[in-house]
Every structure is written in C-alpha cells, then in structure tokens.
C-alpha cells in the first residue's frame, strides 16, 4: 500500500501554503485597489487598470436591436443562451446513454430522478407523470438562468453606443477637479451622461451590458408566473371541469336560497351563507391572481438583489471578497428554482384534487 501523503483537501502542505499566500496577496492588492482601501490608506500608486469603476445597476433591460419590430433586450439574449445550453446538455447527455452511466449522465440522472421523486411524493404516481415535464422545465430553466448569469461575460461585456444629444436637454458644465478636466454632462431620462467629442460632434456615450441574467428582468419571472398560472388552470379545468371554477364563482347557494323566497320559504341564513360563499370565492380569485405577482417578485427580487450584491462586493474589495457571495448566489439560484417549480407543483396538485384537504 502506498504511503499516505500528509496534507489536507487532497493537496500537500507546500501547495496549500502557496494557494493561501496567493489568496492573501490578491486580497491585499484588492483591498488597496478598492474604494475602502483608497479611503483608509490613500492612493498607493496602483496602475489605473486595477481601479474598479463604481458599479451602475440598471433595472430596465436595454434594447440591443429589434427583429421585425420586436425589441431584443440583453436579458432575452441571456435566456436564448440558457435555452441553447440546456438543449446542448440534453443532447450530449442522452446521445449515448449507458447502463453504467458516465459522470455527466450520473449528475443529470440524479437531479432529474430527485425531481421526479419529489413530484411523485407530492402529486402521486399517476399525476406525477403528467406534471413532471412542465415542472422540470421550469426548474431547469430558472436554475440555469441563475447559474449562467454568474459566468464571466454576463454583465461584464459592454456595448458602447454614441447617440446625439436630445433637443431641449439640460446641459451642465462640471468644473475641473483633481485629475479630471472640465467636462459637460447632460441629464437624459433621469440619468447623467458625459458629453464627448466624436468626429467633431458632441455626442453622449451610452453603455449597455451585452448579456445580463434573464431572471433579473421582471418580464421573465412574470412570463414564468403566467405559464405556471395557466398550467394550473388548464389541469384544474381538465380534471374537475366546471367544478374547478365553482370555487371562484360560487353563486349556486345564494340563488338557491333566493329562489326559495319566491316559493314562500324565507331562509335568511341560507341567503346570508350564499353571500358569504360569493365573497369567499372572490377572495379566492384575488389570492390566485396575487400569487402570480408574488411568484414574479420573489424570483425577480432575489435574483436582482444577488446581482447587485455581487456588483457591490466586487467593487468594494475586488477579486476575493466576491467569491463567498458567488457561492451564496449558487445556493440562492437553486433554492429559487426549487421554490418556483415546487410551488407550481403544489398548486397544480391542489387544483386536480376534488377536495383540497386530500392533497396533503
């Protein structure tokens, strides 16, 4: 038996020490280059390319170009990339399926198998097979949208566009300060742009990210929430027919009791209970619609907050500080994908169960 080498985490001690020293050096340089170090210690003469410009998070996704009048934004590009990655992965994984699976096949078999078991435990054997394709699609799409947006290139490649200054725009002259000479700025749509000279003409410089995580555009979560809503409604109507709509528009008891008045039987409690049923149905309907909103903003909020958190940490102490937060974002992406897919599954299971209590 070979002698076991001393070490930790599969590395020998000298390599571990080298890694630690490199990390420490990067941390110190990052600290000096970032705004915290600059404020505490002052400029130590680091080259300009090391200094990080202050981050500018944008909420609305800018339009990059349009196809047949349809605006294509950077988040749409990102979602196309997600779709392509998913298609390529599924092709590679299923191209040569083996009884003894390869590593990639094992990962995806474990992931999808776990998801299928979850479907079965919530929806039951028969329904799990019906719901699984949609649930797994939502899960994988949200998960890969979140994880791919952590890949370098997302949010870091910029498109620079020169646009003419809009008429009637308010131009302000900023006096020279420190290294910066006197320059003009203009306020367009509540944003400040610097005016630069391009071929003798005064233009404004607009910077867009080329691709940005699709989940950070409110339209993607909203579209997913609508898909989830219509999926639930479709299976509810298909399984229970009109009975599914009765939980929202329950006028039956009211009109029956009301009809009884004309037959000479005055049933005040019946009419009252009927009115209560109608109000409960209305509340149920409202809460269904609000669920769409809460689905949307949970995903959008978590993903956007994560993006901004990464921007800020990478700005404060470049390189090292953002690393643990990348780990956090991996976890949050997985949790959000699970919540989105899982809640859709719970709602659709409730919708196809005649008496809701049995769904549990």
């Amino acid at each position: 038996m070979a002698e076991r080498k001393r070490g930790c985490l599969g590395c020998s001690f000298p390599i571990l020490i080298i890694i630690a020293v490199v990390f420490l050096a990067l941390f110190v340089i990052g600290f000096l280059a970032g705004p915290i170090g600059q404020n505490m210690i002052g400029d130590v003469g680091l080259p300009d390319w090391m200094k990080v410009p202050s981050p500018e998070p944008h909420l609305p996704a800018p339009e990059l170009f349009s196809v047949f009048g349809l605006p294509i934004t950077n988040t749409i590009l990102a979602s196309w990339i997600t779709v392509i990655v998913l298609v390529v992965i599924s092709y590679v994984v299923t191209r040569r399926m083996k009884i003894v699976p390869s590593r990639l096949q094992t990962i995806f078999e474990a992931l999808l198998g776990w998801l299928f078991d979850l479907c079965k435990s919530i929806a039951g054997d028969k329904n799990a097979r019906r719901f699984y394709p949609v649930i797994a699609t939502i899960f994988l799409y949200v998960l890969f949208n979140a994880w791919l947006s952590l890949v370098p290139g997302f949010g870091s490649i910029e498109l620079i566009e020169h646009k003419p200054i809009p008429e009637n725009a308010h131009i302000e002259i900023i006096p020279a300060e420190g290294d910066k000479p006197e320059h003009k700025v203009v306020l367009v749509d509540h944003k400040e742009y610097e005016i630069i000279n391009v071929d003798g003409k005064e233009m404004i410089e607009v910077r867009h990210e080329l691709i940005r995580g699709a989940n950070t555009d409110v339209n993607t979560p909203l579209a997913l929430a609508f898909i989830s809503f219509f999926f639930v409604a479709y299976f509810g109507l298909k399984s229970l027919g009109i009975g599914w709509l009765r939980q929202y528009f329950n006028f039956g008891p009211f009109f029956r009791s009301f009809g009884n008045i004309f037959k000479g039987k005055f049933d005040f409690m019946g009419v009252f209970a009927g009115v209560i049923e109608i109000i409960v149905g209305f509340l149920e309907l409202l809460s269904r619609f609000i669920t769409v909103i809460s689905f949307t903003f949970r995903l959008f909020g978590n993903m956007t907050a994560g993006e901004i958190l990464l921007l800020i940490t990478a700005f404060l102490i470049p390189w090292i500080l953002a690393l643990p937060f990348y780990g956090l974002e991996l976890l949050i992406g997985a949790i959000q994908a699970f919540i989105f897919a899982g809640l859709t599954l719970v709602f659709v299971t409730m919708a196809v169960t005649p008496h809701e209590g049995e769904a549990y």
Binding site: I122, L286, S287, S294, I339, L343, Y360
Partner: protein
C-alpha cells in the same frame, strides 16, 4: 403529510402578505387619483388587501393546523 408541501406553502406566506397589501393600497391610490376621492379608495384598498392576506394565509396554514389537531385527537 408531505413535509415538502408544508415547507413550500410557507415560503409563499411572506411574499403573499406583502403583495396583497401593496396591490390593495396602490390600486386604491390609483383610483383616488382618477376620481379625486382621496383617501377613500386607498383605505378601502388597504383593508381589502389585509382581508385577502389574512384569508390567504389562513388557507395556507389551515392544512398544517388540521393535521396537528388530528394527531392530538387520535
């Protein structure tokens, strides 16, 4: 009972309450702006939002409460 179902239902509670109250209040504000009836519809919308929130949360946790009672009784 499936513990995943309970966990998933409960993740929705916070966002549901916030969404109900915000939507009620802002719909009320919008109606007030249109009809010049400030603050009638805002208060109305807030109340409707609160009622929907309470009802929705009750619906979400009712199955969990029911199961506990079943266990205690049985």
């Amino acid at each position: 009972m499936n513990r995943w179902v309970a966990a998933l239902r409960l993740t929705g509670v916070g966002f549901f309450i916030a969404a109900c109250i915000l939507i009620g209040t802002f719909t009320g504000l919008w109606l007030d702006g249109k009809l010049n009836t400030e603050p009638l519809f805002m208060i109305g919308g807030l109340l409707v939002g609160l009622v929907v929130a309470i009802y929705g949360v009750y619906r979400m946790i009712r199955p969990l409460m029911g199961n506990k009672q079943d266990k205690e009784n049985g």
